[in-house]
Subunit: 278 residues, 2 copies
């Protein structure tokens, strides 16, 4: 059942990441476990139907799983979305794993975005960020509190200092705009001579960076108090809705039909839109 | 006189860039000439005193020039700031040339930022951008009109495709936040084996990119009509004031005293603050 898949702390069959490499799979399980052990009491059971918790294309070359859990009453967490896609395509195998966590307008603290896009055994594109919920040019105190005073910039620098890691610029100007100034947006290439294997890099470098960012998000965002006035709340809701709409539009509406066919894509996107309230 | 220096289309003695290399100097003169020939009728004479139009440190190792011209009544241009600094320091020679152009709240079109920071014969850090005046996450139409539909991204990509050019990340999180998603923020390093001379790169690559961006700014921003409501205007003024304050704080208040001494720095910063109305 949907509850069995999403309610078991992300350890149910659907979120077992059956197609990932061992290091990548361990990392995802770790991240979900860290998140859910800290937020668990604040989360409701899965809110998606079984045919969204597990889906595949007609030909079976693409498989996926998507789970969404809402925050319980009184929680600052609006919802947590976790998903994996595994597609065996003519040019190679594509694995995308995603963890989004959105907060409610009772807090203005950043949302969490973690996305791994692997399209070969030696290369990976990685986004890990706390998405700002205010215009950072207008809100210097916000920039200072979440980005300057935290360890995010140090973590980003540490990751980018590895020879196999290079900054990655999304082709979407919107995604560039929505990311924070300390966003981890990198390409990892382990195909060059002298490079360490990707598995090693995942365990020794990526895992640590991802856990650090999620730690900052849990401590400073999801589980911290923020004062938000009634007027602020309206602005936050409008901005959050746009972020959610654009996430669905750029990330999913554009890619899922191509990979899974229109029918499956509509079902999955529909479940997300319903959960997002957009 | 101040008028003689700033009023002559930027070609007066102060903005003659006496210390720049020929290609760098030609480029700056070209940019100012392009800008002033298009905006000339909209600009008032220089508004800074002679001891800001030309200044130096007590020991004479640092020299500089700063000019500010306001827009005439009815112009969309608030002000244009142009400056150069030339410092002979223990570790080498530092040359910084800057062109900022701010628009009034009658338009919400982006401001123009051009800054060249050269700290050796072979290397240059370069910022060329149209600074967004709205939160791009909230204003998708703004992102689309100025950044997606213009040639800015193509220009950026063209410049970054050169082997001598690499993305440059400012250490200031604020500056990262204020830049647009198509900002040119690059380091040029011509010291490596096989690299072209910096002079050649300036003429053949940088000059073209800088002129393209300024062309977009003139056509699409400074000389184009935008509808701005009364309510929008208040928000724009608040955001613009912050941009101006931070520009002075990060760029000048932090560096000028170290290079020119407190007295000269105060005079120059004071003239800017007065012109900026902050």
């Amino acid at each position: 059942s949907a509850d069995g898949g999403g309610g078991g702390g992300g350890q149910g069959p659907a979120m077992d990441f059956p197609y990932l490499s061992p290091a990548h799979r361990d990392l995802m399980l770790d991240l979900l476990s860290d998140t859910e052990s800290r937020l668990g009491p604040h989360l409701l059971p899965s809110s998606v139907p079984p045919d969204v918790l597990s889906f595949q294309s007609d030909s079976g070359n693409c498989k996926g799983s998507l789970d969404i859990r809402h925050g319980a009453d009184g929680s600052k967490v609006d919802l947590i979305l976790q998903s994996w896609l595994h597609c065996e395509l003519p040019f190679g195998v594509l694995d995308i794993t995603t963890l989004f966590a959105y907060l409610r307008p009772e807090s203005d603290a950043p949302h969490l975005l973690v996305e791994f896009i692997q399209n070969g055994p030696d290369s990976l594109v990685l986004f890990i960020d706390l998405l700002p919920r205010r215009d950072l040019v207008l809100h210097a105190d916000y920039l200072d509190h979440f980005y300057q005073q935290s360890s995010l910039e140090k973590t980003r620098q540490g990751l980018e200092s590895a020879a196999e890691v290079a900054p990655y610029r999304s082709s979407s100007l919107y995604i560039r705009s929505v990311l924070s100034p300390t966003a981890i947006a990198v390409g990892i290439n382990c195909g060059a001579e002298g490079a360490r294997p990707l598995e090693e890099l995942m365990r020794e470098l990526v895992a640590g960076a991802a856990k650090e960012v999620i730690g900052v998000w849990l401590d400073r965002c999801a589980l911290a108090e923020r004062e938000v006035t009634e007027g602020d709340r309206t602005g936050l809701v409008a901005r959050d809705d746009l972020i959610k709409r654009k996430t669905v539009e750029i990330d999913l509406s554009a890619n899922l039909p191509r990979l899974f066919g229109q029918q499956v894509a509509s079902r999955v996107v529909g479940a997300i839109q319903k959960a997002f309230g957009i």
